[in-house]
């Protein structure tokens, strides 16, 4: 192979377009490396703490394994040998729950986002308010006043069909896609603490507490606004010609969505999935409330490492946090190339 010489540039030479001067580079890398240290040091500390025992932590600080303290695997053993049942159960629960919740949320959310970006809706506001009122009254009568749920549901459905049209035709104030979109997105503003008790009561009524289903559905709903938000803009960026063509070629809306839209939205889907995945994987408060034993997830295991009177079991907690990070990091590395692009078109470009 012939050697191809690229001319060396002197430090003092003016940088070419799109290039940086040496000084800029030095400053830039210094800043980036400082930030890298700021990001990584707590994680380093987390990792070495997982190999410490009580004395190493309490009489610390010790920084370097083998140098100023003798690392031990006791915390790892406790989680994965002695208590492997509890650890693995929580781990698998977390995996099942966050995967299913993410899947459900991304599927339903992107369907809604797609519909909102393509179909013009004009629901009647009064009908909707009436519907919501009935729904709320049904829920309240079941949940608080203990009316039999079948009876309440039947009454509500009947009332809706008899009265909705009559009421709806009186006023013609209609909502539009932007309003629906905003309404869905605004659900994210709710702090979970507002809704956690009623949600608990709902699942209690249908005997689904401490099951995967309860947590999966709740997570899916809680994260759906994010999916709709990100995917709505993403779908808007896909040329309509393709879908119209598919429609003419005989595809149904589902067919178009599955064959054309979803494959074209890979990047957006990947980014959204990752984000929702992270949020479901890490959620604590709702999981705490909706699970007792069978469906306990990893964040609860982490929180449980604060054993109150015995202080925080830093070493075990570190192990739990580390094993929680690993799958997400792996997923992020796999999806890495999509994230940036995906988030962009999705979140932010209209």
């Amino acid at each position: 192979m012939s050697t191809q010489l690229t001319p060396k540039r002197s430090i003092f030479e003016a940088p070419a377009i799109g290039q940086m001067s040496m000084a800029t580079k030095i400053v830039l890398y210094t800043l980036l490396l400082i930030w890298t240290a700021f990001v990584l040091f707590p994680i380093y500390w987390l990792i070495i703490t997982s190999f410490k025992d009580a004395a190493d932590v309490n009489q610390g600080p010790f920084f370097l394994p083998f140098v100023d303290f003798q690392p031990s695997l006791h915390a790892w053993k406790e989680l994965f040998v002695t208590d492997y049942e509890d650890t693995l159960r929580a781990y698998f629960n977390s995996i099942i729950i966050s995967l299913s919740a993410t899947g459900l949320s991304v599927l339903i959310g992107s369907m809604a986002a797609y519909a909102l970006s393509r179909v013009a809706y004009a629901p009647n506001l009064i009908t909707i308010l009436f519907f919501i009122f009935l729904l709320a009254m049904t829920g309240v009568s079941i949940g608080i006043y203990g009316v039999d749920w079948r009876l309440a549901a039947a009454v509500a459905v009947a009332l809706f069909f008899f009265l909705a049209r009559a009421v709806g035709n009186l006023y013609q104030f209609r909502l539009h896609n932007g309003d629906i979109l905003f309404w869905i997105i605004s659900q994210r503003i709710l702090a979970p603490i507002v809704v956690v008790v009623p949600i608990y009561m709902m699942f209690q009524t249908v005997r689904l507490l401490d099951t995967h289903i309860a947590i999966i559905i709740t997570y899916a709903v809680v994260n759906m606004p994010i999916v709709v938000w990100l995917m709505y803009d993403f779908f808007n960026s896909i040329p309509r010609d393709l879908e119209e063509s598919a429609q003419l070629d005989g595809a149904t809306m589902i067919g178009t969505f599955r064959e054309i839209v979803l494959p074209l939205s890979r990047t957006g889907l990947a980014a959204t999935t990752l984000l929702v995945m992270i949020l479901s994987w890490n959620e604590y408060l709702l999981a705490l409330f909706l699970s007792t034993t069978k469906a306990q997830t990893m964040p609860i295991l982490v929180a449980a490492m604060n054993a109150g009177e015995r202080g925080i079991l830093w070493w075990s907690m570190s192990v739990a946090i580390i094993v929680m990070i690993i799958p997400v990091v792996a997923l992020a590395i796999v999806l890495q190339k999509y994230i940036s692009k995906g988030l962009l078109v999705g979140a932010v470009k209209g």
């Binding site: 377009i17 990001v39 707590p42 600080p61 979109l181 949600i199 589902i254 907690m317 590395i333 209209g350």
Partner: protein, 362 residues
């Protein structure tokens, strides 16, 4: 049948999401609204609900919990008066300008609500912080939101801009900088408790060495708040970073190069070309971040339990503690107040910045 399905597919696509959200957020919302006007006690076979009218809210704004939610008010200092009156004047001028230019009832009422919230927050600050009084959880929450989001935005954007340049190891930086976001917020809380421990944490020696051996961040209100903001920023800068990186990378290189050829320096090129391009994106990112920041609960709960005193307690945490003490009425009332504040602030922002863009769509 098939054709009927096809025709209504548009609705069927939207239906699952809307139904789920209706069931899982409208019903709970209504239920907790009822709770907010009641005292609830658990008993065999369910609850005893006793309606108490506005008492749960009154208590928060005027009663025994006033100091807790909005702060302590004694007298307003000169600085407070100056600040309060000038912001009030500015806000009134703004609404007057709206009324003169293009008036619709819908827009006017919306702006009136924004105005009321703006005035409320202005006088909250004038009466507490600027007058040397203690502020309550709303003040603390706003501190987390404003300062936290500002820090996260500036650093996140700066990092993203740096990484959008043609540098080596971009991919590695991107993955590394993203990691903190993947850690469960509870974990982040505990990690930063380790970091900040002045007796056995990694920086305890540094702490002693700079002569702060007897100073504890956890005992000083502002130090504690700042530590929580640092932890929060550590976790959420990655989010801003990754979004803004995407934004910067979407700026066409042609544009910046053309600007450079036209003689623009790096700063000018950034300000004239790049910044206007990413501005709408930045607005959305900050909106998302602010919405989440209003809900901050895990970090103060774990790092300080809201202490010292009530210095680091957020509104969300206040509701959480009330809920934990089985005071469901107060918990719901507080949560609703938070909801109201968040909705007004975010909707105002959404309307002024984001919605114009969304409404253009069909």
């Amino acid at each position: 049948m098939n054709e009927w399905l096809d025709k209504h597919m548009g609705r069927l696509f939207l239906a699952p999401a809307v139904t789920l959200i209706l069931v899982f957020s409208i019903f709970p919302l209504v239920a907790s609204l009822i709770m907010a006007f009641a005292r609830i006690r658990f008993s065999a076979g369910g609850f005893k609900v006793r309606f108490v009218g506005w008492r749960n809210f009154e208590k928060q704004f005027f009663g025994s919990e006033q100091f807790h939610l909005i702060g302590t008010f004694t007298q307003i200092s000169l600085l407070g008066w100056i600040f309060g009156l000038s912001v009030t004047a500015a806000l009134l001028w703004w609404i007057w300008g709206y009324v003169r230019r293009h008036f619709t009832w819908f827009g006017f009422v919306g702006r009136l609500i924004t105005l009321a919230m703006g005035l409320g927050i202005t006088w909250l600050f004038a009466g507490t912080l600027l007058s040397g009084n203690l502020f309550g959880t709303i003040g603390t929450t706003l501190f987390y939101v404003l300062v936290g989001c500002a820090i996260q935005f500036v650093i996140g954007t700066a990092l993203a801009y740096a990484c959008s340049k043609n540098i080596r190891g971009k991919t590695a930086f991107r993955v590394i900088f993203f990691v903190p976001m993947m850690i469960t917020p509870i974990g982040v809380g505990y990690i930063f408790r380790m970091m900040a421990d002045t007796t056995k944490g990694p920086f305890s020696n540094v702490w002693q060495w700079v002569g702060l051996g007897d100073f504890s961040w956890a005992a000083d209100p502002w130090a504690a708040r700042i530590f929580i903001v640092i932890a929060d920023s550590w976790q959420w800068i990655p989010f801003v970073f990754i979004m803004m990186l995407a934004a910067f990378e979407s700026v066409s290189r042609d544009l910046t190069e053309a600007a450079e050829l036209d003689g623009a320096g790096p700063w000018q090129s950034f300000r004239e070309i790049t910044w206007p391009h990413v501005l709408p994106i930045a607005a959305t990112v900050m909106l998302i971040r602010a919405i989440e920041a209003f809900k901050i609960v895990d970090l103060p709960n774990i790092m300080t339990s809201g202490g010292p005193g009530i210095a680091t307690e957020s509104v969300s945490l206040q509701a959480y503690y009330a809920w934990r003490a089985l005071d469901l009425g107060s918990a719901s009332a507080i949560a609703y107040i938070l909801l109201f504040v968040t909705v007004v602030i975010c909707v105002s922002f959404f309307n002024l910045v984001v919605l114009a863009r969304v409404r253009k769509q069909p």
